[in-house]
Symmetry: C2
Subunit: 153 residues, 2 copies
DNA sequence: TGATTTCGGACTAAAATTGTCCTGTTGCTC
DNA sequence: GAGCAACAGGACAATTTTAGTCCGAAATCA
């Protein structure tokens, strides 16, 4: 299992929330429009994040989503695993023992080490870190970036 | 892109060659039987490895495959990337600029760091290392392992 | 020549990804 | 409590990727 769009969109959506300050609410509709993520797909993704306790949802008029914690207390690992399940480079590494390789499985050990490095990186990065990084980068809108890419082709 | 069976089978196949000593040849047919990998799939995988210069092929009667270098000079990274292309956690990281995220793409930077850690692990491990690791592990045949797993269910 | 073995491309089935859609359910406000 | 606003959740569908299969051709050896 790798990082799919679902995971990417999830981080992007939460990043949106993190940017607008602590407990401010936002509508799925607004997030999807501003981040250019398909609305119904994002809605589905946020359901997982609610279940995982990363965001709270408020129904009804005036509702929306808000982070349950400070951005500095939410790691990227937590977000991605809430959406995609445990990160695994290989089926070897999944919960249920499902690997039936050769002797003792030297390969599984290797995959496990690689995967642990990935988890290290993701667990060591919070939403607050990403927001801070953004601030140091040239602020291009996603739309501008798209135009640039189109021009390259 | 993650590690698929193709990559796994490739490493397993080469490991088989590495175990039987330096330049000894082996038939696809034997490797596939002993490692329990579908033959025509493995054949296809080995074609990529030939192209990448990791193994040499000899056609005709008495032919087969042999490593072109010592197992200690062949890294797992090289094998996997020969088969699956460059390892990338996300389309962001692929050759062609294909990412069109928001401002400056803090996420892409993060994915890149994670992916670099994976490549570190794989480029730091050679076939010889894997063979050595196997020697320290309880030698179970793949078949035995399968039976154990079946018993767990 | 004939047996053996890889080469390479076309093809296919199954699974995962990436969505859409529709029918709730909840909660707010008048 | 009527009606609207917003999320919840399941069924469904299109596309892409994975995981192979198959077969004819080319090379090599005896």
């Amino acid at each position: 299992m790798q990082i799919t769009r679902a995971g990417e969109y999830g981080v992007l959506g939460l990043l949106h929330l993190a940017r607008r300050g602590a407990a401010r609410m936002a509508l799925i509709d607004d997030i999807s429009r501003e981040e250019e993520i398909p609305k119904s797909f994002l809605a589905k993704i946020f359901q997982s994040l609610v279940k995982a306790g990363v965001v709270r949802s408020y129904r009804g008029a005036g509702g929306g989503f808000a982070l349950t914690r400070k951005p500095s207390e939410i790691t990227v690992l937590e977000i991605i695993e809430a959406i995609e399940g445990k990160i695994a480079l290989q089926r070897c590494q999944l919960d249920v023992p499902d690997c039936e390789h050769m002797e003792g499985c030297a390969l599984c050990g290797l995959f496990e080490r690689a995967q642990d490095r990935v988890r290290d990186v993701f667990s060591g990065t919070t939403l607050a870190d990403l927001v801070a990084t953004e601030a140091t980068l040239p602020a291009k809108t996603r739309h501008t970036r798209k135009l640039e890419l189109a021009a390259l082709k």
